[in-house]
Symmetry: C2
Subunit: 444 residues, 2 copies
């Protein structure tokens, strides 16, 4: 039964809804609208605040159900670009099943999850009706950083009002555990630049003329010391202490140090080694400050005796709840000024807040228990207290004030954002079963 | 009289003796040999130790002269490449005079100086003969770092034996002072590299995986602090204290801070400001440690959330007498190892020792006095106790053990290594006059 809407699923995968290339957005919106309507839902296409439309979908609880309870599904109808095309073994926008695996751009991120949720609704409609209200929020700009989503959620907070939210994506981990994510880190991404001259200068002049590369090196090391400790006053302000349950959730997550080291070809130890923090705790709960790039002067082969005129760095701070991009920005600016680096320009070019639902929240426990009922011992369910990555979930928390859990039909090799993106059909069917069971329980 | 060999000078400038492109080297060697022979000298072309030939020239003191005294001229017959061609207003290898300025690739560096010395010898031959022996050493690899010169000087130390040496080049400074250089800094130029992984990694993993950019930032800042102090044990070992005369020579050099700041568009203060060291003292007498380049990760526009796999830097240390590239290399390696940076690879890719003749040396005083007699008040003579730049003069000091002074026919805008390289004909004539007078006095 679960696969009866495969034709529609495949048509949806054929929509080339690449937001960064502005491809087939209106067609995809129309198609999604039809999908929801054919499932028996109401639809509103919201486009009054700019950007690609935000789609609202609504399914009312059956008369026997609980009309006081509303579950919100967040999805996005846009996908990543498909390049590098030459690395695809199938056509990115022609869904192809090989050995039980469905390949297509956007299938794991996140069209399969949306279709699984619709399929679950179809099944519930056929077997006695919905036990709760269900809403959808589908946006079309997730892959370009959700620049307009906040405005829509704020304005339409009443429309999207719900008691809990299931996030757009999720995967089994590399140990085949089904993962329930309870949060995401935030991000504050900065360009740092310092100029000391108009032109590159012969390096013999370094005896008297200052060097922007040295200045930026010293500015950066003043912010994070050689023990990997971030030493910017105010950076950690507002972060609440971890609960024992949070720590236990981190400790319960599998982590195979040897496997991770091999995967990336690491030459050294993990930076958590010798500290009181475990790798899974650090990934979930600790902010980071990462030099993503540094460039200055001559970097080709051989010798060029140049005193550079400028130096640039890119700095990525992953944030945790309690921090805000704005506060982090201010703390970095204050730090630079206080340490004599007024001339180092600091520009925040990306900002998203962190969001974390407590692992003790009843909704997280419900998602876990309903998953355990479906996945059993074959795929143990683990709770990721916070993903190491970033998404717009803080906007949902801020304006809708609800708990959020991330689950989905992916697996460790789904390759979101990569060539040969795929979902195993069995994972897809199982995810439908989980969504059915979750909606049944949610309305009780 | 001084310009009677202009036709030969121009033919010499037509030789496209670009060592880095291996152009017209044999033709140029043959031409130089002919020039020396037509001036009445003996020639040996030395090519038994590899590389472009080293030319030995010899002019014996006249019977009335002092056969006990020998002056060595160092020159090189190779030149820089002429690109960027589109910035030349004349043909680089077609010497062209415009308003009393002679334009050609290699004219200031250093074909005019060689021709001035030959012209001076012609004039002395015509007017009573040489008062001392004169030798020439011309190499053909100066513009590629003189990689073979040391072997030739060591093997042929007896052949090139002399009492003093006039260096290949020199210029009036931007204040129109005629400059006598008494030394050059050395150089130790390093590639630093650190790898932490096989592949670039998503920056969310920075919570547990080390970052090569941070490692290199911390390794570098451990070597030179934010006060621009080099704090590597052993780096300064062997440097003798400055004499009062050295300090006085530095103090006597003109330095227009405002002009230098404008020339380069400097945004900050000189790093000597607030220290006990003056700019001219720092340029002449203090070693440097310069980041010439730094690259890691993503450095394009916008956001890429990457944890880089590797980081590279280029580090240029200018050295002073007492230091050696090898000792500096060892001190840096020891420092990195002692500070936990065993994984930072350090490769010395250029090495030349420093050389400095005391400003109190009688030869320097003789060069200054003979210059003063020629240039008078119009172009005051200043002694540069050491140029901020680098050349192979340490090899001459090591194997020939003689004082070295640098003078030449250039001016502040001669543009050695740049398009539209030029020499003012008046400077050329004056330099010939200086060489005549110096050789007269040297034999006394």
């Amino acid at each position: 039964m679960a696969h009866k809407r495969m034709a529609e699923f495949e048509d949806y995968l054929r929509m080339e809804s690449v937001s960064t290339e502005n491809r087939q957005i209106p067609e995809t919106v129309a198609y999604v609208k039809g999908l929801i309507e054919r499932t028996g839902g109401e639809v509103q296409v919201l486009d009054d605040l700019g950007g690609n439309p935000v789609i609202y979908g609504y399914f009312k609880a059956s008369p026997q159900g609980n009309s006081e309870r509303t579950l919100l599904f967040y999805n996005h109808y846009d996908v990543q670009p498909s390049d590098p095309l030459e690395e695809w073994r199938t056509e990115p926008f022609e869904p192809t099943v090989v050995d039980g695996v469905l390949y297509a751009r956007g299938v794991s991120d996140n069209k399969a999850n949306f279709m699984a949720r619709l399929n679950a609704l179809s099944l519930l409609n056929e077997s006695g009706g919905l036990s709760c209200n269900v809403k959808f929020l589908l946006e079309g700009e997730e892959e370009i950083g959700s620049p307009n989503l906040g405005k829509y959620i704020e304005k339409y907070a009443d429309l999207f009002k719900a008691d809990a939210c299931i996030w757009e994506a999720g995967s089994k981990d590399k140990y085949e555990n089904y993962v329930v994510s309870a949060g995401m880190k935030g991000i504050a991404y900065f360009d740092l630049e310092v100029d000391t001259a108009n032109i590159d200068i012969h390096s013999s002049m370094a005896a008297i003329i200052d060097n922007p590369a040295w200045r930026l090196i010293h500015a950066l090391e003043s912010m994070k010391n050689s023990k990997n400790e971030i030493v910017v006053d105010g950076f950690y302000d507002g972060i609440p202490p971890l609960s024992d349950k949070d720590k236990a959730a981190a400790a319960a997550q599998p982590f195979d140090a040897k496997q991770v080291a091999e995967q990336y070809g690491l030459t050294g130890k993990f930076i958590t080694e010798g500290t009181a923090v475990s790798p899974t705790e650090a990934l979930a709960f600790y902010p980071t400050m990462t030099v993503c790039g540094f460039s200055s002067g001559y970097t080709g082969p051989g010798i060029k005796t140049v005193l550079p005129r400028s130096a640039k760095a890119k700095l990525d701070c992953r944030l945790v709840p309690g921090q805000s991009p704005e506060n982090v920005h201010e703390s970095l600016r204050r730090h630079l000024d206080a340490h004599g680096y007024e001339d180092v320009r600091l520009t925040m070019i990306a900002a998203e807040g962190a969001q974390r639902t407590s692992v003790e929240d009843p909704f997280i426990e419900m998602v876990v228990q309903t998953a355990q009922a479906v996945y059993g011992d074959k795929n143990p369910v683990v709770v990721s207290p916070s993903m190491a990555g970033t998404g717009p979930s803080e906007l949902f928390e801020k304006y809708l004030k609800l708990p959020i859990a991330g689950v989905g039909a992916g697996w460790a090799h789904s390759g979101a954002h990569a060539p040969n993106e795929n979902v195993r059909l069995n994972d897809y069917y199982e995810n439908i079963a989980h969504m059915v069971h979750l909606m049944e329980v949610f309305g009780r």
